[in-house]
Symmetry: C2
Subunit: 312 residues, 2 copies
Amino acid sequence: MKEKVVFGIDVGGTTVKCGLFTTEGKLLEMWEIPTRTENGGAAILPDVARTVKDKIRERGLDAARILGLGIGVPGPVNTRGEVATAVNLHWGYKNVAGELQEALGCRVCVGNDANVAALGEMWMGGGKGASNLILLTLGTGVGGGVIVDGRIVAGAHGAGGEVGHACVNPEEPEVCNCGNHGCLEQMASATGLVRLAERYLASSEAESSLRKTKLSAKAVFDAYKVGDGAAAAIVEEFAGYLGRTMAVFACVTDPEIFVLGGGVSKAGEVLVQAVEKHYRKHAFSSCKDTPIVLAELGNEAGIYGAARMVLD
Amino acid sequence: MKEKVVFGIDVGGTTVKCGLFTTEGKLLEMWEIPTRTENGGAAILPDVARTVKDKIRERGLDAARILGLGIGVPGPVNTRGEVATAVNLHWGYKNVAGELQEALGCRVCVGNDANVAALGEMWMGGGKGASNLILLTLGTGVGGGVIVDGRIVAGAHGAGGEVGHACVNPEEPEVCNCGNHGCLEQMASATGLVRLAERYLASSEAESSLRKTKLSAKAVFDAYKVGDGAAAAIVEEFAGYLGRTMAVFACVTDPEIFVLGGGVSKAGEVLVQAVEKHYRKHAFSSCKDTPIVLAELGNEAGIYGAARMVLD
């Protein structure tokens, strides 16, 4: 059998996830190598090239069967596949596409990791079948990606899909990691949810099981699920910020579907329901029924999306 | 000389604007016909076909020279060039592309009028040279269009670029024309600016020349330009809503440039400066320097953009 294959690579700060896929999106094999960030991360791309070549040899893959390699990196990527800087990899300027093309001799596509994850969820995850979607990844921060007509919207400065830095409360006194005040990330990340919880508990006298536990996004949603009143108020505030902001996003690209990923999304359907209520209230009439779903690929969204870039 | 030409048509509620363009964006001729909305607007497309055929005959244009016709209509348009409904034209469902293709035998492209205007400003107006932009048209309402990679983002429900219905103040008691509360349109349209002015003047004791004049967007900006304190407070509120919301939009598609059009934009550079201040404060770091400029094509943006669709 001579079906074509693509490699999907997701470079993180500690490990590089690697996947070999069919063009239909079947994951044939997945493996990891460490990310060597020493010496300005000089070894990272040679390591990627080596592990890919090893895999090609190990599987006896003809060059003709290999459509190419897609790679997601944690930094802004321009249309030529160059990265200006990627702090977590200790990179300054890096011609990712150029280096890998030279080393591997195949087509190479490069994207920002968060955007690439959105493409992965579109291809084989929560947004399967859609070609216009917005992914919001609710983790330590809030990241995401915007897909229009099946393609990543990278933006003029690589800030397409920087959904976590939408200003949702200009009056917010605390400062976001980005230097602004009142970003969505300060309210709707795992960290942001804990911050809202601490603030609520400090300002209220309400009894709550949350007062007796270590606060985390999971603890808040667990308390919410068993009817804790304080947790309900906290989730309501969190979901209000998130749902209203998604309604604003819908006025820009009007996606077919919203996908919620990241650690906070492990709360499951109750998260979707809480957000949906606010989204539907504030969305423009023709977008009120846009589905909101959970991401399905978890940490593998990046390798799926990286591989998918090659098929475009 | 046998250069290729395209027709650009912009269907409004009272007149249909028509333009004949070279492929380089030179407007060779512009004319208008009335929009006949009686009988469910049944005559509108036949009238367009007739005036185009007349022009072809009058100028002796060979079929080979005509690349096609683009048309902007005031309603949501799907990818097949069909309109579900266009209230101002008295249309229900209408296969715009199909009817005109049959009548004219050339390529026909159909778009929503506000989106098409954004494409026009990208081609030959304030956003010339850009391929990613957002147009905000500050008129009776707030409309606009989003362009990514040189193409209109129509959206899954034709609501791409419905920037006027971004929720900017969920506490707003008054209702927007769309049925929601606190839309950008309620603050940043000409009507919205007057509303903010009335509210400010009613709640304040401040002396102001605005108390002695008929309120309008122009009156507010005229008073602002000569240093009226109340006008300054009103413009500050208006520009705050607009600049902050544009900063949120930048987190979605990260445009190369924002273009401000519509009647309110006649205020000129003072509008840009007022909005810029708030935009720069709230925009994500890499988008803080995105230029904000005035639209240049006025009411002709629609025919330019309609013609430009054909060249894609």
